[in-house]
Every structure is written in structure tokens, then in C-alpha cells.
């Protein structure tokens, strides 16, 4: 279908605000008399707090409050409105500390489907280095920091479990008393008869693969500003992907009615899943409550943010695949152990989500997935771009490459033999693949990187620097359905001049969602982009309900609501035009700020005329608005592929990426330039994941070793090659304008593609990422490649 605005690379709605420094982020707001909060973190990975003496800290001039776990019940009690029944006990002595879950999932009415409540605002049992023990509110940051040093805590150290092996060992201490063997969850699945499928295969191929802990490193650290307003409501401005969920979780953490919390989300300096979780907000609320509701800002330093927010789960996989000599895969058995760190957060759903999205790529008779999500005394792992899929696809796309080498089959052909086709129905959740461009993605990628020519060129290399090619595929999903609720909300108000305000519950965090929503509205209403005013700030008191930015859901799920809201406005505009002209509304359309005849395009009147009529008609005046919630009980599966070319320095172990192309089937691309931006960013992040990034810990103590941007090797502009982005636009019939997800997908397949390219160049298979120079050196030494 031919569109006017959809499919065009229009500039971002917020580009001018951001390029002039006018875009306001949380730290750019302040209140008069604002205080500063700071957190005392545990220096031990596993310890009990025996006693805390805050007297010296309290005595420091400028300190307004010092809070420990003992103060939380009192603060909560004081928060209750007399006579209003809330989750707070009525008697101060009986007030207990409340446990709450932090994961940014939609609430579930089914208690068995809720997240694990395992977190206290301040704890008396530290479960990782960085756990929150106490907090200070002071007039300035320096005083607060000094006060932290004056808090005297006596700890009883417990055995620290820093690896999943140690945590799973018989007799290991329990990190959470209610989780046996330190296992958070083990929800997997079986399709078909796996034993039989493996048995009847010509070849049984096994492999072990491992990924490491990495961190989001959004440029803006977690930060919030909390105060109590005149209605005794707690107002929190915060850098979050999920304002409506933050509201619920803060209320739950405090045991107050949800309506007593108001969350405001201004511009956000990146999230990547780390802000799909509640981290600083409940404590920030408590800080304000501790000083009589005065405004308190709580900002994490980079060093804090890298360990006391969330990380990406490290996984270990054991894969067994039964395959016939012709390349047909009969059965795949995947065992996975996921390190979720000290608290549940998203942990239970990440292993299962990765395994779920993996099912949409290859078709086999049998598939068994057995994940174990295990607690350790390391920082909490949570949601991060790709949500379990970068891990499982690194493992399997490496494994299938190994299979192709063992069976001497072309790696691309081997994949093609086993790929799903349009019309495939997932045997477990019945998701229908209604559009599938993976084959076209592969063909395009192969052509872009000049696969055949280079493959021929790079045979039999002997030098110090060797080149190779690799590729990898992935499948993903557009939102979380059928696992979770998928509500999108949009509201449109038409102004007198025919321009509109678009209000969303969906959050712009840099990915460009505000712009693509505005494009959708502009398309439906036949108005230019500058006439769509997107309200970028979400305020839970005002914005429509929508669970926020995660799971690559917004363009698809929230887009449905936006399209519907725009269509409703269009219907109302045409109704007004009909009332003014007697032309039946179904013969009319909106084009170029005019009401036109649908067939001939003949202009009937200016849009502004109808808009004015809607405001000021003495009898029928009713300004045109729409307010739509859409429950998307459907999904669309995006696909894609990475092709990479590397040059490996055999002597130093340095891997250089010469060329890299990501080709995506994300359905209709609403804004090619923004879509390419998503691909560039995802690939850039994936390059770090593949060759340089890893959050390191002392294995004995759990002490973080590199929680800063110098020692954590996030790529710089010098480290990223030119990234090629291309699209195969298989429009999905379920998506608004045919869209499918794109936000997370670009990060999934680069790491295995790079790994396979290194294998091609050197003959050495790296089954563990990152492939940093030290590790590459070690493996090359084993292989006898480094000899001088």
C-alpha cells in the first residue's frame, strides 16, 4: 500500500529538543529545598546485618535523615492515611517490612503468574556486594557521602556463592530460604518424543556454550526525584521505561493504595531493559517520607548503577542435536543454566522467554528445553535487550555452525533446510507465523557481504592476520503475548486548526517510538508531521494506561491503539463534514489537511473548517477526541540475520570486524532512518557482547572488578566498523500498517555470526563470549597458533 508519511524517513519528533539541549531529563528538574539521597551498599556478597549504629551519621551537620531496615515499618506506618484501609497494619508495633517484586511486568490477576516477591527496600541480609543496607538524606551530595561513611554496621559474613556451580552444589547455603538448591525456576518445555528423535538421527552432535554477564550502560544512570504533594500522594519523577508499572510497584513496596502514587517520566537517556525494572524508586519514596515529604533526589553514580541495578544473565548451555546426513534436524535438546544473581527480578521469565522465541526459527520433530535459573551472590540480573535470546541464539547458532562443519554441509544450506515457513503454527502456544522473510534476509545478507567470492578468497590462509566469514539467524516476537497482557493506550485531541495532540502510555526512551506513532497519526489523518504534537512525557495521572517500553512491543502493540485512536478521530471528522455537506461520510477521506472525495480526491473543505465546527457549532459542538485502549491478543514474528567478516591477528588475539550486515524482516518499516538507527545500535552493542564486554567479579568475594566505563569495555566510535542495515519488509497482517518488532532484534545474531567468522578464519571454535584478546590468546595457544 502506498503511504504518505508511513515508510518515510522523517526526522525525529524530539530531534530539535535534543540537539539544542532543551530536552529535559530527570536530573534537569529540581525543586526548591531539594535534598539529596545516597545509599549505603553492602561490602559483602552475603552477610547478615547484626547491628547498625547511625548516631554519628545523624549528628553530621546537613544530614536530615538516616534510614535503615528498622525504620521502614515506621515510615510506612506514618504514611498511612488514618481511617483508610491500606496494606499497612493498623498498629505500629505490628507493622512488618514488606517484600515486593521489582520486575516490570504487567500485573496478573492470577497469583500463580506473578513475579517473585523477594525484595525489601532496605535489607538486613545482604545478598550481593551493592545490596541496599541504609540510606542518608542530606542537604547536598558531599554531606550525604560523608554521612554514609559514618554509619557503623556490624556484619556476620556468610558463604558467598559466586557461580551457579557453587550455588547448585549440595549443601550450599540458601540465598533465599524458600528456594531449594538456590533454584528460582526451571520452567521449560518438551515438544515431541526427544529420545526417539535423537535415536533415529544419523548423527548426534553435542556442544557446550557460554555467555557472560554484561551491563546495559545507558548513558543516563538511574535517577529519580520524589516528594509528597498536598494530597499526601507520593510523586516520583523517574528515568523509567514503565511509568505505570513503577506506580504499582512503589505502592506495593510501601503497602499503600496504588492511586496514591503518581509517576512522571520525562526524557530518558536510554534504558535497554534496565529501566524495565523498579530500582531506585521505592527507596526514593521512603527518603522523601523520612523527611516529611520534602523533595529528595536519588541519583546512582556510574559505579553504583553498574552493580546495583540489573545485568544480563550469563548462561551455560549443553546442546544435543540429532541430525540426518542430509541436514534435516530431527531433535534438539537444550539444557541451560542461567545465573540470575541475588534477587529474582525478571530471572524466571528470561530463561523461558529465550527458549520460547527460539522455537519460531527452526522446525524439528522434537525439541526439549530444560532451563535452570539459579541464584548467586552477584548483582541482580534482569531484563536486557533481547531478554534471553542473545544467549540462546549465541549457543544454537554456534552449534548449528559446528554441525555444518562436522557433516561437511554448507552452513547456510543447513539452516535453510530446517527453517520454518509461513503458516507454521507453534505447537505449544499456537502462535501462527503469518509472515516470514528469513530466507530472503539470508539471500540479501549473502549478497551484501559478497559471501561466495570472499569464501573462495579466504581459503587456506597462513599469515598472521587471517580473514573469515560467518553468519547467524534469529527469530523474536512482537511483545509478550500470549505470556502476558498486551495493552496499548492512546489518546488524541484535535485542535481548532486541525492539528492534534497525541498522548501515549507508551514511552519514548530513545528508540523513536514517539516519531513512528506520530507518523501513523499523520498518515491516517492526512496531516503533516508538524501538526501532530506528541506529548513525550508520561504522567500516570494523565497519560493513557500502557505498560511501557519493553519486549519490542510498542510499534506493534501500542501502534494498534494509535492507529485505532486516529481512525476514530478520522471517523468523527468525517461525520462533522457530513453534517456540514450532506455527503455520506463513507465517500469522504482526509488528505493534505483537507476533507476530500475518496474516489476523485476532489477537495470538499479544509480540515480546519471541520475542526472549528466541532468546537463552536452552537448546537452540536463537541471537540473531536479519541481515547483508545487496545488489548493485542496476538503476535507477529520478526526474523533476521547477521553476516560478518573478521580479521584475526593470530599473534595478539585481536579480532577486527571488517564488515557486518544485519538484514531484518520486521514487517513494514515505518521510518527507515530510525529503523536503521535501531539496527546500528543493536549491532554495536552486540559487537561489545561478542568481543569485549564482560562485568567481572572476584570469584571468592563477589567483589566487582570493573564497574566503571574505563574498565568495562563498551565500544567507542573507534571500535565499531561501518554497520550495514537492510530490511526485507514482509508485512504482517496483524500489525498496524503491517509492522513487526525491531527494537531488540538487532542484538541477537551478531555475536554468533562473529564467532562463526572467527572459526572460519582460524579453525578455532570459541564457545564462550566475549572473545576478548586474553581468551583468544589462550585458545590459540591451545591450538598451537600463537607460536613464534
Amino acid at each position: 500500500m502506498a503511504y504518505t508519511v508511513v515508510g518515510k524517513s522523517v526526522s525525529r519528533a524530539d530531534a530539535v529538543a535534543k540537539v539544542t539541549g532543551k530536552a529535559k531529563y530527570t536530573d534537569d528538574f529540581s525543586e526548591r529545598g531539594m535534598l539529596v539521597g545516597k545509599i549505603l551498599h553492602s561490602p559483602y556478597a552475603h552477610a547478615l546485618v547484626k547491628s547498625i549504629d547511625v548516631s554519628k551519621a545523624k549528628a553530621l551537620p546537613g544530614v536530615e535523615a538516616v534510614i535503615t531496615h528498622q525504620d521502614i515499618p515506621k515510615i510506612r506506618y506514618a504514611t498511612a492515611i488514618p481511617g483508610v484501609i491500606e496494606a499497612i497494619a493498623t498498629d505500629e508495633v505490628g507493622v512488618a517490612e514488606l517484600k515486593y517484586a521489582t520486575a516490570g511486568h504487567p500485573f496478573s490477576l492470577d497469583p500463580s503468574h506473578r513475579d517473585k516477591e523477594d525484595r525489601y527496600i532496605l535489607t538486613q541480609r545482604a545478598r550481593f556486594i551493592g545490596d541496599n543496607i541504609a540510606a542518608v538524606v542530606a542537604t547536598d551530595a558531599l554531606t550525604a557521602s560523608k554521612a554514609l561513611k559514618l554509619i557503623e554496621v556490624e556484619y556476620e559474613e556468610l558463604e558467598a556463592l559466586t557461580t551457579t556451580e557453587a550455588a547448585l552444589k549440595e549443601g550450599a547455603p540458601l540465598i533465599h530460604d524458600d528456594c531449594e538448591r538456590n533454584i528460582l525456576s526451571s520452567a521449560g518445555y518438551v515438544i515431541g518424543d526427544i529420545e526417539q528423535a535423537l535415536k533415529e538421527s544419523d548423527h548426534l552432535i553435542e556442544g557446550e556454550y557460554e555467555t557472560s554477564i554484561v551491563q546495559h550502560c545507558h548513558l543516563e544512570n538511574q535517577i529519580s526525584l520524589a516528594y509528597v504533594d498536598s494530597d499526601r500522594r507520593i510523586v516520583i519523577m523517574t528515568s523509567t521505561q514503565i511509568p505505570h508499572i513503577v506506580r504499582r510497584i512503589v505502592a506495593q513496596a510501601l503497602g499503600i493504595s496504588w492511586g496514591r502514587v503518581r509517576v512522571i517520566k520525562p526524557y530518558v537517556g536510554g534504558g535497554f531493559g534496565n529501566k524495565q525494572d523498579v530500582t531506585v524508586e521505592p527507596l526514593n519514596a521512603v527518603m522523601s517520607l523520612a523527611v516529611g515529604g520534602r523533595p529528595v533526589k536519588l541519583e546512582l553514580s556510574r559505579e553504583e548503577a553498574m552493580i546495583d541495578t540489573r545485568t544480563r544473565h550469563a548462561f551455560k548451555f549443553k546442546i544435543k542435536t540429532g541430525v540426518n546426513s542430509d541436514g534435516k534436524i530431527n531433535g534438539i535438546q537444550i539444557e541451560a543454566v542461567s545465573n540470575t544473581g541475588a534477587y529474582a527480578s525478571h530471572g524466571h521469565s528470561i530463561a523461558s522467554s529465550g527458549g520460547g522465541k527460539f522455537r519460531y526459527l527452526y522446525q524439528t520433530k522434537a525439541l526439549k528445553y530444560e532451563p535452570l535459573t539459579v541464584f548467586t551472590n552477584l548483582p541482580v540480573a534482569g531484563a536486557m535487550r533481547g531478554y534471553g535470546t542473545p544467549q540462546i541464539f549465541f549457543a544454537f547458532e554456534s552449534h548449528i555452525e559446528d554441525i555444518s562443519r562436522k557433516l561437511k554441509l554448507d552452513p547456510i544450506e543447513l539452516r535453510k533446510i530446517n527453517l520454518v515457513e509461513t503458516g507454521h503454527v507453534d505447537p505449544l502456544n499456537q502462535t501462527v507465523i503469518r509472515s516470514c522473510g528469513i530466507r530472503e534476509c539470508i539471500d540479501k545478507g549473502k549478497e551484501l557481504i559478497k559471501w561466495d567470492a570472499k569464501k573462495a578468497l579466504y581459503k587456506e590462509q597462513k599469515g598472521v592476520k587471517r580473514r573469515g566469514l560467518g553468519m547467524a539467524c534469529f527469530s523474536y516476537a512482537s511483545g509478550t503475548y500470549p505470556v502476558a497482557l498486551e495493552l496499548g493506550g492512546a489518546r488524541i485531541v484535535m485542535n481548532q486548526d486541525g492539528s492534534v495532540q497525541l498522548q501515549l502510555g507508551a514511552t519514548e526512551i530513545g528508540q523513536g517510538s514517539d516519531t513512528v506513532f506520530a507518523q501513523m497519526v499523520a498518515e491516517v489523518l492526512g496531516i503533516p508531521m508538524h501538526m501532530v504534537h506528541v506529548i513525550s512525557t508520561q504522567d500516570t495521572d494523565i497519560s493513557p494506561f500502557d505498560t511501557g517500553s519493553y519486549a519490542s512491543r510498542q510499534t506493534y502493540v501500542s501502534g494498534m491503539a494509535v492507529e485505532k485512536a486516529a481512525l476514530e478521530v478520522k471517523r468523527k471528522v468525517l461525520a462533522v463534514a457530513h453534517s456540514m455537506t450532506d455527503i455520506p461520510a463513507h465517500l469522504l477521506d482526509l488528505k493534505q489537511q483537507h476533507i476530500v472525495m475518496k474516489e476523485s480526491g476532489e477537495r470538499v473543505m479544509e480540515l480546519e473548517v471541520a475542526a472549528m465546527q466541532s468546537y463552536y457549532d452552537r448546537v452540536h459542538a463537541q471537540p473531536i477526541t479519541s481515547d483508545v485502549t487496545n488489548n493485542a491478543r496476538i503476535n507477529a514474528i520478526p526474523y533476521g540475520v547477521t553476516f560478518a567478516e573478521v580479521e584475526v591477528d593470530i599473534k595478539t588475539g585481536k579480532i577486527k570486524i571488517l564488515e557486518i550486515f544485519n538484514v531484518h524482516d520486521s514487517g513494514k518499516i515505518v521510518n527507515p532512518q530510525l529503523a536503521e538507527g535501531q539496527v546500528h545500535g543493536g549491532v554495536g552493542m552486540a559487537i561489545g557482547y561478542a568481543i569485549s564486554e564482560q562485568l567481572l567479579f572476584d570469584e571468592k568475594t563477589g567483589q566487582p572488578l570493573n564497574n566503571n566505563l574505563l574498565d568495562y569495555k563498551l565500544p567507542t566510535i573507534m571500535d565499531i566498523p561501518e554497520i550495514g542495515a537492510a530490511f526485507v519488509e514482509k508485512e504482517d497482517p496483524t500489525g498496524p500498517f503491517g509492522v513487526k518488532a525491531l527494537g531488540e532484534p538487532p542484538i541477537i545474531s551478531p555475536a554468533p555470526a562473529i564467532r562463526n567468522a572467527v572459526l572460519d578464519a582460524t579453525g578455532v571454535a570459541f564457545n564462550r563470549i566475549p572473545m576478548n584478546p586474553q581468551r583468544v590468546f589462550e585458545k590459540f595457544k591451545e591450538a598451537g597458533l600463537t607460536l613464534n
Binding site: 530531534a15 535534543k18 540537539v19 539541549g21 530536552a23 536530573d27 536510554g270 526512551i509 538507527g677 554497520i723
Partner: protein, 170 residues
């Protein structure tokens, strides 16, 4: 302890006492209300707080406010024209899609502005090196590099024997 300093910011002269403990970033953001410079790390590793001091990019989180005495400072707020018209560099960042979350953008625009105003020629590699003090997690740097090249149109040198850097980092 306070110290009186005189300096100009975006052409406007200031003369007041600053706390010697404060960074220039704190003075710009908290006292002058110029919040375009952002704090991303506090130790000069990310570049989000960069501004031009006497035309040269500096990380203001590790620049004591007292050091601004006598300096001419330019922040992102001083880049566009008085009527809001975007500079050529800003326009290039908008057109090339070099902006995502926007947190690193002010620093990058300023550094690119300094490069442009230097009038010097740069190879693509050198240009990247000059921008390498700015971390960005959203864009993979692709469109940032493009926007910088567009900003320096006519000053991108394709000569192999670069007049500048020849060292080796491997």
C-alpha cells in the same frame, strides 16, 4: 571555601563566587540553569558533560569551576541562533538521524562544532578519533559519524598520508 571568578558563557559575562569544591558541570547546571551538559560518569569517561572552553572540548565533570576564571565557555544552549535556527552541525545531526536517547548529543554536537570551526581538514579516521571521547550506547555511532562528516563537508581529507595521526593502537 569560595573564590570569585569571572568568565563568559555563551557570550554572557558572569562574575561571582563559586565554591571551590564544585565542578564546572555543577555550576553550569545548578547555578546557571544550563542543563544541556549531562553527567554520565563523573570521571571523564563518557563525554556527556563536554562543553567548549576557549573553543576546546573539555569534560566539565572533572574541571573545577574555579578553573573557569577568565575562560570563554560555550554550551549546547549557545549553539543555535538567537531565534532558534539550528547551526549547520545541529542540522546535520537532525538530518542524519544521529540522535536517539539524546543524552550524548549535546557533547557530540559541541565537539563537532569545535572541529568545524577549527577550519582544519580531517581524514575519516581522524574525525572518529576526535569524537572518541564521547560514548554512545544507542546509535552504534554510525549516524553520528555521518553527521560529523556532513558538518565538516569540504574538510574531510581523503589523502592517505594524513597530516595528523600516524601512531598505532592495536
Amino acid at each position: 571555601m569560595f573564590k570569585r571568578i569571572a568568565f563568559t558563557v555563551n557570550g554572557k559575562a558572569y562574575d561571582f563566587e563559586v565554591d571551590v569544591r564544585e565542578s564546572l558541570l555543577e555550576v553550569l547546571r545548578n547555578h546557571l540553569g544550563l542543563t544541556g551538559a549531562k553527567q554520565g560518569c563523573g570521571v571523564g569517561e563518557c563525554g556527556a558533560c563536554s562543553v567548549l572552553i576557549d573553543g576546546v572540548p573539555h569534560d566539565t565533570c572533572i574541571f573545577l569551576a574555579v578553573w573557569a576564571d577568565g575562560k570563554d565557555i560555550r554550551t549546547i544552549e549557545g549553539v543555535a541562533g538567537i531565534n532558534g535556527e539550528l547551526s549547520q552541525v545541529q542540522q546535520a545531526f537532525v538530518e542524519e538521524g544521529a540522535i536517539q536517547c539524546g543524552f550524548c548529543t549535546p557533547g557530540l554536537v559541541l565537539t563537532t562544532t569545535a572541529l568545524k570551526e577549527s577550519g582544519k581538514d580531517y581524514t575519516r579516521e581522524e574525525l572518529k578519533r576526535e569524537l572518541s571521547g564521547h560514548l554512545c550506547r544507542c546509535t552504534g555511532y554510525q549516524n553520528i559519524a555521518k553527521a560529523a562528516e556532513k558538518s565538516l563537508e569540504g574538510h574531510i581529507c581523503t589523502c592517505e598520508d594524513s597530516p595528523h595521526y600516524k601512531g598505532a593502537i592495536i
